[in-house]
Structures are given as C-alpha cells and as structure tokens.
C-alpha cells in the first residue's frame, strides 16, 4: 500500500470535482419536485414520468438510435475497407496524400463538414431527413474507424494471410476467415466509437436534419434555448446512465477476455514446463 498523502488526496478531489460536479448537479435536479430548476422542493420522479409521455422526445430518441446504429455500421464497413487498402497497398506514389485525405476530416471543423454536406444535399436535391443524417454521420465517423482499424492492421502479421492463401483460400476468403476474426476487437471498438460520436453529435446533425427527423441532441438544444426544464434534466440523466452502463460493460468484457487469455497462457507454460 502506498502511504496516504494530503497533496495526492487534494489534487484527486479537485480533479474529479471539476469533472463531475456539473453532472451530479444535473442528476440531482432531475429528481427535483419543483418546476423551477434552481429551487429544490423535495425528491420526486415526476419528470421521468412526464418524459415518457412526451411524444416529441421519444421520437427524437428513436431517430437518434436508428441514425447511430445505421451510420456506425456503414462507417465500420467503409472505414475497415479503407484501412485495409491503405495498410496493404504498400508503397505507391501519392500514398501519403491518400492516407492524409482519409484522416483529414478528423481535424476539419465540424461546422465546415456540416455546411459542405448541406450544400451537397441541396445540390443533388436530396430531401433532408433521417437518410441525410445517416450519410453525414457515416462521412465523419468513417475516418475514426479507419484510424482505429489501421493501427491494428499495422501490427498484423502478414504471413497469416499468406498462410491462408497458401492453404487454398481466395483473397476474399483469407480476409473473411483469418484477417477479420483477428482484427475483430479493433473493428468492434471502431464501431462503438462511431456509435457514440453519432449519439452526441449536434453540429453536423443540425445542418443535415430536416423537419421530418430530429435527433435528441438537437431536441435538447432547442428546448434549452426556451429555458432549462426539469424534463431535460431527466432525459440527460437517462443518457448519462446509458453511456455509463455501456462503457462499464465494454471495459468489463474486454478485461475479462484479457484476464482469461493470460490465465490460459500461464496454464500452458505450466503444462509444458
């Protein structure tokens, strides 16, 4: 055990306070009985009940979920393909340019991405709605997936694929049967990253959404402009809970997988002396 130190304890408290006090206040006020956000009037779950009656919020939540699942799935497929080609293609002239162009949207201001997508959709006459949001989210989250997957592919032993070819696989079979199962953890974390990015995106969604479809962040933002309501607090608390549960589950699952693997390796070493 390390010795207790006042300096460490203080800095830890300050750091966590800075990070979490806003959220704790939000969660507390979501259980406030009063309609006035800043006045505490006792504990109540009234606003959660009202939230479930609010058709507009429920619709927005449903749209957000559909957009997140669809866009992160498409982005994962495209991003994995891009990463695979960039890592495998070897050296050719313009390679740096190409890989730079895949990663450029990472640093592009969201406002510009949103605006250019808006212009494109208007230009080709695509009505703004759930489809345009999915397309827009796919566009910007694809490069995140590509970064995650390509960092895994760089350390991937190429001879595994060659062995698959050698044993009679076509190049596509080699990818499906050998490469994909091995890089699956990176692909899954790329998907999760794209999913969370899509869930909380406000800027790009507000450029590309239309009257037929609104996502939750847009709904919350526009509702807050008319004044913070306890309902919004309740909704935000639910979102925090969902994200927390997801993150804890994901880290628990991956931790258990690595612990199991280590145990197996130790057992193997013991068995063979």
């Amino acid at each position: 055990m390390r010795r207790f130190s006042w300096f460490n304890a203080t800095s830890l408290t300050l750091g966590f306070a800075f990070l979490y006090i806003p959220m704790i206040i939000l969660i507390l006020y979501s259980f406030n009985a009063s309609k006035l956000v800043t006045v505490w009037a006792g504990f109540s779950t009234r606003w959660y009940g009202e939230l479930l009656q609010n058709e507009a919020f429920l619709n927005a939540a449903w749209v957000t979920l559909k957009v997140a699942v669809a866009s992160s799935t498409i982005a994962t497929v495209l991003g994995t393909m891009a990463a695979y080609v960039m890592v495998r293609a070897g050296r050719f002239s313009g390679r740096t340019l190409f890989s730079g162009m895949i990663y450029a949207p990472l640093v592009m201001p969201e406002v510009i991405t949103g605006l250019s997508l808006l212009l494109l959709f208007i230009g080709i006459g695509l009505d703004r709605g759930i489809v345009t949001i999915i397309l827009a989210h796919t566009t910007f989250s694809m490069c995140y997936v590509s970064v995650v997957v390509s960092s895994r592919l760089v350390s991937f032993d190429r001879s595994l694929e060659e062995a698959a070819l050698d044993l009679g696989c076509s190049p596509f079979e080699a990818f499906r049967l050998v490469t994909l199962p091995i890089i699956a953890p990176a692909v899954i974390s790329g998907w999760l990253l794209a999913f969370t990015l899509s869930l909380d995106d406000l800027v790009i969604a507000s450029f590309t959404s239309g009257p037929s479809a609104t996502t939750l962040p847009i709904k919350i933002f526009s509702a807050v402009r008319l004044g913070v309501s306890p309902e919004i607090n309740a909704l935000s608390t639910i979102m925090i809970a969902i994200v927390t549960v997801a993150v804890i589950t994901a880290s628990f699952v991956s931790k258990r997988a690595s612990v199991r693997q280590q145990a197996e390796e130790k057992a193997a070493v013991r068995a063979t002396g």
């Binding site: 595994l160 062995a163 070819l165 050698d166 044993l167 696989c169 390796e265 193997a268 063979t272």
Partner: protein, 374 residues
C-alpha cells in the same frame, strides 16, 4: 545386394520436380535472384543455405507464389507456374513465424486447408487425426496456439502444411525459433516425417549445421547466385570456392603460389616455410595464385616431428578452445599466420598433453587440403 543410393540428380533419365530456368528477380534496382538455374528432384530434402539477404527466401516465395518472377521460368512437374496463384498450387509452406491462426484450435488449424477443398467431414476428420498422430499432437487438438509451447507450435505448423499432401513442402527457417537442444531433436523428426510422407522438402536456413543434418543436397547461395550445389559431404569435403569452404564449418585458408608437380600442386605460402603439397585433378590458371583449404580436424598436432608426413609445419600454441569433446588449438607459425588444429579429448583434462606457448608440430596428408582458385 546393396540398397541403391538416393541420388536422382546423377540420373540423366530422372525428371526434375522443380526446374528453375534462368530465373531473375529484381526489386526495383536490387537484384535478389540473378539468372539462376536449378533442378530439384522428387523426394529430395533440399536445403537453400546462405547468409541473410542472399535471396534464399525470395526463391522460396517465388515457389509458393508470393513473389512474381522478373525473368525466366519456374516449372513444377513440367508446368510453368508463373500464372498460377498461391491458392491453386500443389505447394504448401511452413512459415518462419509459423503463422498459426490464433483464433482457431490446433485441430481447426490443421483442418483449415482441407476444409477449403470441400472434402466430406469424415475424410477431414480422418486426415487431421493422421496428422495429429504423425506430429504427436493428439493431446493438444483442442488447445489454441497460445496455449502450447514453441516446439508444439512448430509441429502444428508442420502438420497444417502437410495436411493437404502437397507435392512440395517449403520450410522457411522452420527451426529458427527453437532452442538448440529442441532444434536437434526436431531436425531428426523432420527427416523422419519427410521419409514417411515421401514429400519433397525445400528448406531455407542460414544454419549450416541444420542444412548438413537434414538435407540430401545443399545449395550454398550468395548475392542471388548459387555458389555450389552438392551433397552435404560434397560441400564439406570438396568445396568449390573459399566462400563455400569458409561458410560451412571451420577451415584454415592458406593463400599461396602453386606449381604443378606430379599428381597435384606444391604451394609455397611464405618465405622460409616448406612448400605444401596437395593432390588434385584441378588445373590452375596462368596466374597460379591459389588457396589451400584444410579442415582443422584433418590437421594432426604432435610434440615431436612426425615421421614421413607430407606436410609439416612448426609453431607455438597461441590459444586453446576447449569444447568438451574436442579442443581446437590455435597455432601461430613463425610467419605470424594462425592455423587451427582439432583433436578429440580422449583423455581426462588433467592429463592433456599441450598447453599455451608449447612448441608443436602440425602435419596433414596430401589429400587433406583442397586446392581452390578463388
């Protein structure tokens, strides 16, 4: 009746399994394989031996189909394989890293190639069992590659590459990752399996001892060219260049000037030293500059001047390398040259006859040394 010696390379009627015909491979400006011609026969255990970067791995990868050929042709059973992709070649490869699929069990790794052929289930089952038995892995069939030892992984890789019963098996530094003791055991195991299955093996290695142990023929390579192709004994006893003599085993190289006398050459190498005589059929060129290559174990070391020896020199012991079964004596001649002599330690250490700074005589017969032009 004696059993016929396995030497298809000496039989003009024998059809080679693999024919390299003037094969050249370039990577940009770099020539990895330089106009190489070579025949490899069925059931051979053929070793490609050379330092790293000599092109041996490139040759193997061209056979497997992972590298294209810049010029020339490679025939497998008489058919040009240039346009055949790796997955359609009756050639399997065992990779240096083993390249076992980490997400599959030992059983599934071995069955992987068979499943691609869409064989019926019971046939796959039977073949995998056969392979597990051959490589003594029955107990580990349900394990994943990270749950077994290095030696077992090596055997899984071998079983997987043999499962499809290829015409030709390529082994890329197959024992490089094993420690010395295990490597020696595995070498014999490999030879055993090669004999049992009758598959043609081509092995790439930089370990000359390994090549000598396992191979029926060895090709010594340097800078994309074949320097010598011969049986292990041929390579060791009759190297064709100083490079080969030096690469395989330990050797004394004496540079000198040769004059034709009787059945061989007299080589003068330093003033005040007697000429050294070596029997040879070789004819030296005009310059008559030549090298004598003498293996240390063919040099006899003695305290007294031996009677009737053809080649005798005197020197002082400079260094002794004690290897347990053998000792190598580094003997300094009056000219400053160091000659190595090897003697078996048939006596216990306390009774050993030579020590540092002793004056000794070195002698060898007229057939011990090989005369080389370069």
């Amino acid at each position: 009746m004696t059993e016929p010696v396995f030497a298809p390379w000496d039989d003009p009627n024998e059809k080679p399994l693999i024919e390299f015909k003037n094969v050249t491979k370039r990577f940009g400006d770099f020539t990895a394989i330089d106009d190489l011609t070579l025949d490899i026969y069925e059931r051979e255990f053929f070793a490609l031996l050379g330092p790293s970067g000599c092109g041996k791995t490139t040759m193997m990868r061209m056979l497997a189909g992972f590298e294209t050929i810049t010029e020339g042709t490679i025939l497998l059973s008489g058919k040009n394989i240039a346009r055949v992709p790796p997955n359609r070649r009756a050639v399997n490869m065992m990779f240096q890293s083993y390249a076992l699929f980490p997400h599959l069990t030992v059983w599934d790794n071995i069955a992987f190639g068979l499943k691609r052929e869409k064989l019926p289930k019971d046939q796959i089952e039977a073949r995998v069992q056969e392979m597990l038995k051959l490589t003594r892995l029955e107990k580990f069939s349900k394990r994943k590659p990270h749950q077994i030892s290095g030696g077992q992984r090596q055997r899984v890789a071998l079983a997987r590459s043999l499962a499809k019963a290829p015409k030709l098996l390529l082994l890329d530094e197959p024992l490089g990752a094993l420690d010395k003791k295990l490597r020696q055991d595995t070498q014999f195991e490999l030879m055993d399996i090669q004999e049992k299955t009758g598959t043609t093996f081509v092995i790439v290695t930089h370990d000359q001892e390994e090549a000598m142990t396992v191979a029926s023929r060895v090709a010594v390579m340097d800078e994309g060219r074949l320097i010598q192709v011969a049986t292990p004994a041929g390579i060791y006893e009759m190297p064709n260049t100083v490079y080969v003599a030096d690469f395989i085993g330990d050797v004394n190289i004496i540079e000198g000037h040769g004059t034709k006398t009787g059945d061989g050459y007299d080589v003068t190498f330093a003033e005040g030293q007697p000429a050294l005589h070596a029997k040879t059929d070789a004819q030296l060129g005009e310059a008559a500059r030549c090298y004598l290559a003498i293996r240390p174990e063919k040099v006899t070391i003695s305290a007294e001047r031996p009677d009737g020896a053809v080649n005798v020199v005197q020197g002082t012991i400079h260094d002794i390398a004690y290897l347990g079964n053998l000792s190598t004596y580094h003997v300094e001649l009056p000219t400053g040259q160091i000659l190595k002599a090897q003697a078996a330690n048939t006596r216990r250490l306390s009774r050993r006859s030579f020590t540092w700074e002793d004056k000794v005589w070195l002698s060898w017969t007229d057939t011990a040394a090989v005369v080389l032009e370069r």
